[in-house]
């Protein structure tokens, strides 16, 4: 088999492989009105809170009260 023929065969095999690869793409089923993206994790599912929701809520509560200058002023006056 000469080199030219081998080259043609290799190209044909490559083209066939690319064509067949397209057949493997599964069609996505679209669900109307539903989030289609990646799932998100909970804010407490990380290295800092290690899945402890109560700890996270406690931290948020402290931060929430940090915005209340009336309670901050009373606390600092004591």
């Amino acid at each position: 088999m000469n080199t030219g023929r081998k080259l043609v065969l290799a190209c044909a095999a490559g083209a066939l492989a690319i064509t067949l690869a397209g057949c493997g793409d599964q069609p996505k089923v679209y669900k109307q009105g539903q989030y289609q993206g990646k799932p998100d994790s909970k804010p407490w599912d990380n290295d800092q809170f290690k899945g402890n929701q109560v700890e996270w809520e406690k931290a948020i509560k402290v931060r929430n009260q940090g915005q209340n200058e009336y309670s901050r002023a009373v606390a600092s006056a004591k």
């Binding site: 009105g33 539903q34 989030y35 289609q36 993206g37 990646k38 799932p39 998100d40 994790s41 909970k42 804010p43 407490w44 599912d45 990380n46 800092q48 809170f49 700890e55 996270w56 809520e57 931290a59 948020i60 509560k61 931060r63 929430n64 009260q65 940090g66 915005q67 209340n68 200058e69 009336y70």
Partner: protein, 207 residues
């Protein structure tokens, strides 16, 4: 479970733009994108009021309803977020939003619109929490660090409150009672709903 909301006290806002700067700095937001901005109502007229506006993370978010690719989702804390990998930059959400929150960075030549960017309530997006990918696409995830949005926490006069709805509403209520005025909250009814003023059945019982 916390239900996260923003509340801007127009009686206190001094238009310092500290919230805008805090947001820009925290998330390294690019030029041309303003996740938060300060708007002055009746500018130049005596008694003008300023308010800080961003995505309000509405209870019934219109952006979620109009998105053709359904890239929006709401977290269990009530924060409206989106997946930038899905966004096609169509701009429908911008037209639907009553607060003008969705922003579109210029992407490429000829003013092509990029993927939508908006306030995330400092909660990042659907990438691994506090990862480089999340920071690049959505900015810092302060909520996952047990912190509240930078804009609200940085506000010098505490005009902008952000956090658990019950707590911030209580702080505001206490404030209004003490000062005796300024109970109106701009945008609260639009974002979080208001009681239906119409009677359930029309007077007379006939429609």
């Amino acid at each position: 479970m916390a239900r996260m909301k923003f509340l801007c006290d127009a009686e206190r806002c001094i238009e310092c733009n500290g919230c805008v700067t805090a947001c820009k700095n925290e998330h390294e937001v690019p030029w041309g994108v303003n996740r938060r901005r300060v708007v002055t109502l009746n500018d130049g007229v005596p008694g003008e009021k300023s308010i800080s506006v961003a995505c309000m993370h509405c209870s019934d978010a219109p952006c979620m309803a109009v998105c053709p690719v359904d890239c929006f989702y709401k977290t269990s804390e009530g924060v409206v977020l989106h997946d930038k990998d899905l966004c096609i930059g169509c701009g429908y959400c911008f037209y639907a939003c009553p607060f003008g929150a969705p922003q579109f960075p210029q992407d490429g030549a000829f003013g092509l619109r990029g993927k939508m960017d908006k306030c995330t309530f400092c909660a990042g997006g659907p990438e691994l929490d506090n990862s480089a990918a999340e920071f690049k696409k959505y900015g810092r995830n302060r909520l996952a660090e047990g912190k509240l949005p930078a804009c609200a926490e940085m506000c010098s006069t505490k005009a902008l409150l952000g956090g658990d709805a019950d707590v911030i509403a209580d702080i505001y209520r206490n404030r209004v009672l003490k000062r005796g005025k300024g109970s109106e909250i701009w945008g609260w009814g639009t974002a979080y709903g208001k009681p239906d003023e119409r009677p359930a059945t029309p007077p007379g019982g006939k429609s």
